[in-house]
């Protein structure tokens, strides 16, 4: 079946999985998910990562998939592979393949997030106002691009993770958020988020949001700072205010607001 790419993109933008036009997964028990995990570790994790967060292959923990919406879509995709990519098909059928679908589904599940104590409307006010979060982050086209874009952060991170990131941001700094400090041969220091690097050059986004490309032959020193520039909001927000902000961030699951 030759489905135009634009159609696939639009399908994948659904906030929630649409009604399945074909078979629902008949193998969704915890035992099925566990069996699917074992298969995932043997067949899928080399590309999609041991925890499904991606690597050479796509991050499967976002809860939505670019090329599949229904369980049947996932079943068919895993069975046949994706021509033109490194994604091979698999020769499992029936129960085993449904178990794998169940595990892949579980990677994107965010149980409990719909019962959060905070008020997302108040959370947005705090995020935009008192917190000053838009000075570094962008949400649906508003704000700064220095820090990570948070437009779909609710689909990627649990409420507990979001709260920890707000109150103890230095605790789990992922390398992609490390800052890089470069000193030119002329003595100028440039600090920013590393966007790319190769043997000969370094690409940064500096603290003003500017894109900077540096030739390594022009640098006397390059240092990776394994800390985040994100401040702790533990003392900035009260406990209730943190609940509101977390509730707001958890609602950020789609970019449909900026799509026509």
């Amino acid at each position: 079946m030759d489905v135009p790419r634009t159609t696939l993109l639009l399908l994948s933008l659904s906030l929630f999985l649409g009604p399945a036009s074909a078979q629902q997964n008949p193998q969704t028990s915890p035992e099925d998910v566990a069996a699917g995990e074992r298969m995932f570790r043997s067949h899928c994790s080399a590309c999609h990562g041991a925890d499904g967060t991606g690597g050479r292959g796509t991050d499967l923990t976002r809860g939505t998939f670019r090329r599949a919406t229904s369980d049947q879509d996932l079943y068919d995709l895993i069975s046949a592979g994706i021509p033109g990519t490194e994604m091979p098909g698999i020769f499992f059928e029936g129960r085993q393949l449904w178990q794998l679908v169940a595990y892949v589904r579980s990677l994107g599940a965010r149980p409990g997030d719909d019962k959060l104590p905070g008020d997302p409307v108040l959370g947005r006010q705090l995020f935009d106002g008192k917190g000053g979060c838009l000075q570094c982050h962008m949400v649906h086209g508003r704000g700064s691009s220095y820090g990570p874009d948070l437009s779909v952060i609710g689909a990627r991170r649990s409420a507990a993770h979001l709260r920890q990131a707000l109150t103890r941001p230095q605790e789990k700094v992922v390398p992609a958020h490390f800052q890089t400090r470069a000193v030119t041969n002329g003595g100028e220091t440039i600090t920013g988020i590393r966007l790319n690097e190769d043997t000969f050059s370094l690409q940064l986004r500096d603290s003003d949001g500017n894109l900077v490309s540096l030739r390594k032959e022009d640098l006397q020193e390059v240092e990776t700072l394994k800390t985040s520039s994100m401040p702790s909001y533990e003392s900035t927000f009260s406990g209730a205010e943190l609940d509101h902000v977390v509730a707001y961030l958890s609602t950020l699951r789609s970019v449909k607001e900026i799509r026509q």
Partner: protein, 547 residues
């Protein structure tokens, strides 16, 4: 434009060769005779085999492009593949025509001077194929007037080199059983030699010889010996039946010894050796075979009872050198397990072994080259952090031996993997691996410790490192050295570049924006030398300005 070699008749100086050519047919118009393959080093204007010559040194005597003028290289043409799959094929160049595989299994004939297409053969794959690492092909063989290609749906196909028409198309393995052909065949005498990939699918590996004229199988050597065959005792129970031992990279050939050399892949399941106790011959071994009969002359196992997926699928480099004061016909082998080996290729005797990259799986090699494995390096449920990584300290990408410098060059990964042990379950045609490793591939932007890539020069006399060209990211590119005092390579960062083979200094580079996954080649059309390499999804060809 007429190519002078295209219609020419090659005179056969040997009566034996002449008889052979008659036997394979079309002798009057045979373009690439076995004699030409034997003497391919004497016609550096062509790239007649996957490795350039039977010795597989990836060295060319062409020197029009050299260290003094390499900075003047200019892009001449680009072949943009219609496939977005990994471009791992290395072209052949025969009398001004380039033959290259477009992934997964389409063959294209191009004017090697301009990149203009003559013809294209499009292969229709079986509906479902199962390959571990992408739908790829590494190249072709040519013998007589035919091109030979293995396909990932298990077929061996002979094409007419003038038209791309199919001469014969034989299914030799069943892809639903996990078998695939990914390598470029090797043409020896009147035979086409191929092996099968599938070490992650519990295949029983083999090397086959096919009659080049008819496509009929002449012999098969099972890389996993069955009951009653020497080596079967190195497999517990019936584990040999699905023991892996794939062959997915082209071997080499010494016509004086009449021996072929091939590297054998990993045992199955990859990361749980409990179900296949023993050394698991001939996995992870170099094997030397008689091409006439398929009989094994000798073997050398680099990694007995491998639990890390360290296929011995590297280029067997043949060199005739004075080794420690004595003339020797040697085999140079930088292995995925992080050791560089020198073997006597007449007997298989171990002469030297030395680590060329970080490793923590063995306390060292004994006098026969057998490793003293460290028990803590075996995969565990929780994961064992072991160097080298699952992709190896090097892999299938071609090394180069330069007889002028006497150095052996190879692409290196400095990276470690966390190896997990799982429970392997065999179901026909599916993966049979026993869990998968963590940190299989570095991400330089997202990993706290992504390691790095390098090109290293080793002295075959000692295994010592002569120099290193360090890169930020790992590399999957092969190497090419030339008599122009140049060492060409690409890398994972999009660069294609030339180093000084004497000291590793960078002489020239260009950013082509894609990952290099084949081996650069060089050839000449008329009086112009060209250098070609694939990066990303395109093949780029360079030369000096015409004036």
């Amino acid at each position: 434009m007429m190519f002078r070699g295209w219609w020419s008749v090659k005179l056969l100086t040997s009566s034996a060769i002449g008889l052979l050519a008659l036997l394979i047919g079309e002798a009057a118009v045979a373009q690439v005779t076995y004699e030409r393959l034997l003497n391919s080093a004497n016609e550096p204007e062509n790239w007649l085999t996957y490795h350039g010559t039977y010795k597989s040194q990836h060295y060319s005597t062409l020197n029009q492009i050299n260290r003094r003028n390499v900075a003047n290289l200019r892009l001449q043409w680009v072949f943009q593949a219609e496939s977005l799959e990994k471009f791992e094929s290395t072209p052949l160049v025969v009398d001004g025509i380039m033959y290259v595989v477009q992934m997964p299994n389409d063959v294209v004939a191009l004017d090697a001077a301009t990149g203009r297409k003559f013809w294209e053969y499009k292969h229709t794959l079986a509906e479902k194929v199962n390959v571990c690492c992408g739908r790829i092909n590494r190249g072709l063989a040519m013998l007589g007037s035919r091109l030979y290609m293995g396909t990932i749906d298990g077929r061996l196909i002979a094409l007419d080199a003038k038209s791309g028409s199919v001469v014969w198309d034989h299914k030799i393995v069943d892809p639903t059983g996990g078998y695939a052909l990914a390598l470029a065949p090797l043409a020896v005498k009147d035979k086409i030699i191929v092996g099968a990939a599938g070490g992650e699918y519990g295949i029983r590996g083999f090397l086959d010889a096919y009659n080049a004229e008819t496509g009929e199988r002449v012999w098969r050597f099972n890389t996993i010996p069955g009951p009653g065959e020497p080596g079967n005792e190195t497999w517990a129970g019936d584990s040999w039946e699905r023991g892996g031992g794939s062959i997915w990279l082209t071997g080499s050939y010494d016509p004086d010894l009449n021996l072929m050399y091939w590297g054998v892949g990993n045992p199955s399941p990859d990361w749980n050796g409990d179900v296949r106790k023993g050394d698991n011959l001939y996995t992870d071994s170099a094997i030397a075979l008689d091409p006439d009969t398929g009989k094994l002359k000798w073997h050398f196992q680099f990694t007995p009872h491998d639990e890390w997926d360290w296929d011995a699928v590297q280029t067997p480099v043949l060199a005739d050198i004075t080794f420690q004061g004595r003339p020797r016909k040697v085999l140079l082998w930088g292995n995925r397990n992080a050791f560089f080996y020198v073997l006597d290729r007449t007997t298989g005797e171990f002469l030297l072994g030395k680590a060329f990259a970080q490793q923590n799986w063995t306390a060292g090699l004994d006098q026969k080259g057998r490793p003293a494995k460290l028990p803590e390096a075996s995969p565990t449920r929780e994961g064992a952090h072991v160097f080298p990584a699952v992709q190896g300290a090097t892999n299938w990408y071609a090394p180069s031996y330069n007889p002028n410098t006497g150095l052996y060059y190879l692409s290196v990964w400095e990276f470690g993997t966390i190896y997990h042990k799982g429970d392997p379950t065999y179901t026909r045609g599916n993966r049979y691996v026993g869990s998968l490793p963590e940190r299989a591939w570095p991400n330089i932007l997202e990993d706290a410790d992504p390691g790095y890539g390098a090109i290293r020069a080793l002295d075959p006399q000692t295994g010592d490192r002569a120099w290193e060209f360090r890169m930020t990211n790992v590399t999957e590119s092969g190497l090419l050295s030339t008599a122009g005092d140049l060492l060409f390579s690409g890398n994972g960062e999009g660069h294609f570049f030339a180093l000084d083979p004497a000291n590793g200094s960078l002489l020239w580079r260009v950013n082509l924006g894609g990952v290099a996954r084949n081996s650069p080649i060089t050839y000449r059309v008329g009086d112009r030398q060209y250098v070609s390499a694939a990066l990303g999804h395109s093949l780029y060809t360079f030369a000096l300005p015409e004036n």
